[in-house]
């Protein structure tokens, strides 16, 4: 009885252990029928005690447990080894889906001659597996990212070393972290005396520039980014330089230090060119100013006193004398016109342009109606293509178009059936405006002289003019980014083609 009681007690003890462990646990007899299953077994595999105990393990839950690897474990491996740990089994269960399980098995011989039983502990490692594979994936991704990061930093470094602009990066204490090759070359310093140094201390404190201090210590902390900060400085080794600085303050992830990227563009040469250009411009301006004031005054004198001579000494001059004075006066007028045209011409290349969409058809029509008013004898027929538009400065383009139409009218004035056309054609793949006349034309051999200042292809006695008109037109068209050229034939008219930006 005591033994029996003992036996009952130890069975209860075993049963409570079985029910306490969280791992599903079943006990099989030697025929692989379920003797006992733990509560967690029922929970995990969603089965009930009454359909479990006494059943062949393979038949459990509609034969869901008929797993080849389990058969292998129970029928082949276990009889030989009696104990087996971490036998991994993956299986699709109808009710609970695909699971990965680790099986621990123990075959226990109960006394001699007694039957053996099998303890099977099942650990569901599906979630752990997933986490592990997730981890593995993350690890792989990290490796890829690291490679990418290395590549990026390598790329960044080669960018730094490739750009011609000197480039340095500083840490938040303004000490040099990285330096581009061009920096060393340009500022004639060596890596060993640069990296790790305070920027102001570089090259014997040559870089201790008040404006640079202002940029790095005052402006950048506030604005984080700065472009085209102009700094002029006398460097001991390379002389006076004007530099444009672009700076970026980069916050690295939280907690990390910020770094500062500084790109330095040496604009000394450009500045010099700009200054020279400005000076030349000013000189031209004052030249034009004094031409306008001083060159005309003597002309007025010549004309005035010639006229006085003619008026006051009428009696003492014969026909020829009076004719000479007339010639003096008409030359004076021509000179006056030349000065005026030259001034206008120089003004056209100086005034600021205000580009806007232009109705070229309307512009041509208005020019022509003024032309007819000024010159009632004008016989020509004008053919203006409707709907022409372009982008340009109204005043300047009007001067150009007026010059071309004036010319067309002038050089076809001897024709009885003069026809002047203004339109647009496709010329070498680009839309070109054209002004065409059927007048005297010119010899293409001189076409290259057509647009020069004071260049004329016709005698003044035939067709008057100062030779400024086409030079003006070309300058205006060029200022608009277009080009002009002419096609002509002697006595068969001329066509001027010019391009302008399209109005959008």
């Amino acid at each position: 009885m005591a033994v029996k009681k003992n036996a009952t007690e130890s069975q209860e003890y075993a049963e409570s252990i079985v029910n306490t462990v969280r791992e599903p646990l079943i006990v099989l007899d030697q025929n692989l029928r379920v003797v006992m299953a733990s509560r967690s077994f029922y929970d995990v595999f969603k089965v009930k005690p009454e359909e479990t105990v006494g059943q062949l393990i393979y038949d459990l839950g509609n034969k869901q447990w008929d797993i080849p690897k389990l058969r292998e474990l129970l029928e082949t491996i276990l009889p030989e080894k009696a104990t087996l740990d971490n036998f991994e089994v993956e299986h699709d269960f109808a009710d609970i889906g695909r699971r990965t399980m680790l099986l621990n098995a123990r075959q226990i011989e109960q006394g001699i001659g007694k039957k053996r039983i099998i303890l099977l502990a099942i650990e569901d490692i599906t979630v752990r597996k997933e986490i592990e594979s997730g981890l593995e994936k993350t690890r792989k991704e990290l490796a890829v990212i690291k490679i990418a990061a290395d590549e990026v930093s390598e790329f960044a470094e080669s960018v730094i070393n490739t750009v011609r602009e000197p480039l340095i990066s500083l840490d938040q204490d303004l000490r040099v972290v990285t330096v581009s090759r061009s920096f060393y070359e340009f500022f004639k310093v060596k890596p060993e005396e640069t990296v790790g140094q305070l920027i102001y201390d570089l090259g014997n404190k040559q870089w201790d520039i008040p404006k640079l201090r202002e940029l790095l210590e005052t402006i950048l902390p506030e604005k984080a980014t700065f472009d085209n900060f102009e700094v002029e400085h006398d460097f001991a080794d390379i002389g006076r330089r004007t530099m444009l600085l672009n700076a970026r303050q980069i916050e690295q992830r939280t907690g990390k230090e910020r770094i500062i990227l500084l790109a330095i563009e040496d604009i000394t040469a450009r500045k010099e060119i700009e200054n020279n250009l400005k000076k030349a411009h000013e000189e031209l301006e004052s030249f034009a100013y004094s031409v306008s004031h001083d060159l005309r005054a003597p002309l007025r004198g010549i004309d005035g006193w010639s006229l006085a001579l003619l008026e006051d000494f009428k009696d003492k001059l014969d026909e020829q004398g009076r004719e000479y004075i007339d010639r003096v006066r008409s030359e004076t007028q021509i000179m006056g016109r030349l000065i005026d045209d030259l001034l206008t011409f120089s003004r056209q290349s100086r005034i600021e342009m205000n580009q806007q969409p232009l109705d070229m058809t309307a512009m041509a029509q208005s020019i022509i109606s003024r032309l007819r008013l000024q010159n009632p004898a004008l016989q020509a027929d004008f053919i203006i293509q409707p709907g022409l538009t372009a982008l340009g400065d109204f005043g300047l383009i009007e001067i150009a178009l007026k010059n071309l139409l004036d010319n067309a009218a002038k050089f076809s004035s001897r024709n009885s059936g003069a026809i002047i056309e203004f339109g647009q054609v496709e010329k070498e793949g680009k839309k070109s405006f054209f002004v065409r006349d059927n007048g005297v034309g010119f010899d293409m051999a001189y076409a290259n002289k057509l647009f020069g200042v004071f260049r004329r292809l016709h005698k003044t006695s035939e067709f008057p003019g100062t030779g400024i008109g086409l030079a003006s037109v070309q300058r205006i068209i060029n200022r608009h980014g277009g080009y002009i050229r002419a096609e002509a034939q002697v006595n068969a008219g001329a066509t001027f083609y010019f391009t302008l930006k399209e109005a959008t």
């Binding site: 100013y289 005309r296 007025r300 010639s306 006085a308």
Partner: protein
Amino acid sequence: MNSKHILLVEDNPSDVKLTKRALEQNRITNKLIVAEDGQEALDYLFAIGRYAGRDARDLPSVVLMDLKLPRIDGLEVLKEIRANEHTKRIPVVILTSSDQEQDLIASYDLGANSYIRKPVDFHQFTEAVRNLGLYWLLLNEPPPVV
């Protein structure tokens, strides 16, 4: 009090003589005072320097003035004229060779009443002087003497 005279501020003697000739041809017989530079013009208007003792209230009906002048240029003279209580209302006509935009703008900004570009053709010049004389000496009502 007002003798209806003209102050011509012009440094070019040929232009001075031509202007005189043009006035004569148009039978404008009003007295013509010539100042050959900006300083002289101011001396006359304020009755100082070589014009000290002149009755400063006798102001010209019109000042015809060039811009490019020795010592003090025309724009500065104009500025002085407009800044002074005594002279600020005198009609000032800029009569110059230049038609530079900057000159036009500066002249009008400083209060010029008119801007004439002297033509090279003397006939046209004579015509311009005739119109000037007609307008400023006959048609225009001068500011009252204060």
